[in-house]
Subunit: 228 residues, 2 copies
DNA sequence: TATAATTGTTAGGCTAATCTAACAAATTTA
DNA sequence: TAAATTTGTTAGATTAGCCTAACAATTATA
């Protein structure tokens, strides 16, 4: 049985590696920053998780999850996303409110609870942010995802999630008229200041690279090209 | 903000005093036993809770909740019982399975969550064990309750709850055909061995005093007499 | 009422998770 | 490549909550 804290470290490492498009391993400082603790604290825990064979860690090296660690991480992610779905669909929480409460609910220990919840929600495949929910076997469908910033000019893509889960950012996203499953077409990239010109629901808007980087999309055009 | 552990001590004290028919204050050893810790540990925490003005405690004396402490305890009890109701009514948990999971869920911190849950469940008044659920204002309807053992011979009463929440006892209760809101008529008390002869749903049974003591009932006949 | 039994308290330790401060290794940059 | 910067580690302290062992106060009983 893992502690609340150990679970949070595994989840962080999962998000920084498995669910990141850029990297497959994470440094001590990075993990510490992600969890809001000091590097010294993270260092202690990394050594502990290594002893428990949940992560690969070597002195002065980067860390990754072991198979066993990934299994636990997937369980936590599954719980987190099912609870978010419950809050959003059944309790009328808004999109930007679910995360904080799910952070607490994800640590409840009861296999029966989570499987019954899954059934109650009718086995959803994605949470309110568009992130895939691992199934009861721990399988996670990883579709071809990337940030809006990486999308080709002229392509149309579908928003499936966000990277930054802060309430502030989510409200900003809402204010631009963006939401999950919304189709976004990239019209152009402004040479002068790198702003992206996008069209959502027939309405044009300009967004910053920083903003675009935090919007996760899938592009079936790109996927089609990739398959050839 | 109270810690998980502080909340558990307040809840224990609430159950041992406010919700107990026998006593209005609890001793250190009693609280420790109720929580499954050693008296020395309970002693530490009682001093801490006194400093926080959540309980009345004096060296070598008994403890009770302050007004403030009772307020917190009622919030926790409210959460516990709403979650039990959710598990029972929405997730198909059985009567004897809800308690353990609710012990964890009751510590989730989110006023919005619990009020939305209350609404989702359509503002239930009692949980699956028949215990009253405090409303959002922290008001708890205390109806005249007592154990089956204290009931008058010849009276008919309604089962509204149990004292022992262990799965073993709850299954025993089930096996006798008893459940919440079931009407129980006391036919006689056996002089020889003090067994109670009861009738439930037209079926007769004999139960021990220990069993009867753990069944909570209300008796409208007694209440009527009391009012005169 | 003196003694025994019970109940409650204190002192001192342990563990998990955090911190600060000092230091060491690795990487980047001049 | 030498120096500067970044990144990671260690030692030692702190806090919450628990423990054991010894002791003190209270209550029950002979």
């Amino acid at each position: 049985m893992l502690s609340f804290t150990e679970e949070n470290y595994l989840k962080s490492l999962f998000q920084l590696t498995v669910e990141s498009n850029e990297k497959v391993e994470a440094g001590t400082n990075e993990i510490a920053a992600h969890l809001g603790v000091k590097p010294a604290s993270a260092n202690d825990m990394l050594k502990k998780l290594k002893d428990k064979k949940l992560i690969h860690y070597e002195k002065y090296g980067k860390s990754t999850l072991t198979k066993e660690g990934r299994k636990y991480a997937l369980e936590i992610v599954r719980k987190h996303r099912l609870w978010e779905t419950f809050l959003y669909e059944k309790l009328e929480f808004s999109w930007d409110e679910v995360h904080e409460v799910a952070e607490q609910l994800e640590h409840i220990q009861s296999k029966k609870l989570i499987d019954k919840l899954d059934k109650f929600l009718n086995y959803p495949e994605v949470d309110p942010h568009g992130d895939a929910i691992p199934n009861a076997k721990g399988e996670l469908e990883i579709s071809q995802r990337k940030s809006l910033l990486e999308e080709e000019i002229g392509h149309a893509c579908k928003m499936v999630g966000v990277k930054d889960n802060s309430a502030a950012f989510l409200q900003y996203v809402d204010s631009i008229g963006l939401s999950i499953n919304q189709i976004i077409r990239i019209k152009a990239r402004e040479e002068f200041d790198d702003l992206l010109e996008i069209e959502v629901n027939g309405k044009k808007n300009r967004v910053s690279p920083k903003f675009a980087e935090n919007i996760i999309i899938t592009c079936s055009e790109c996927n089609r090209l990739r398959k050839n």
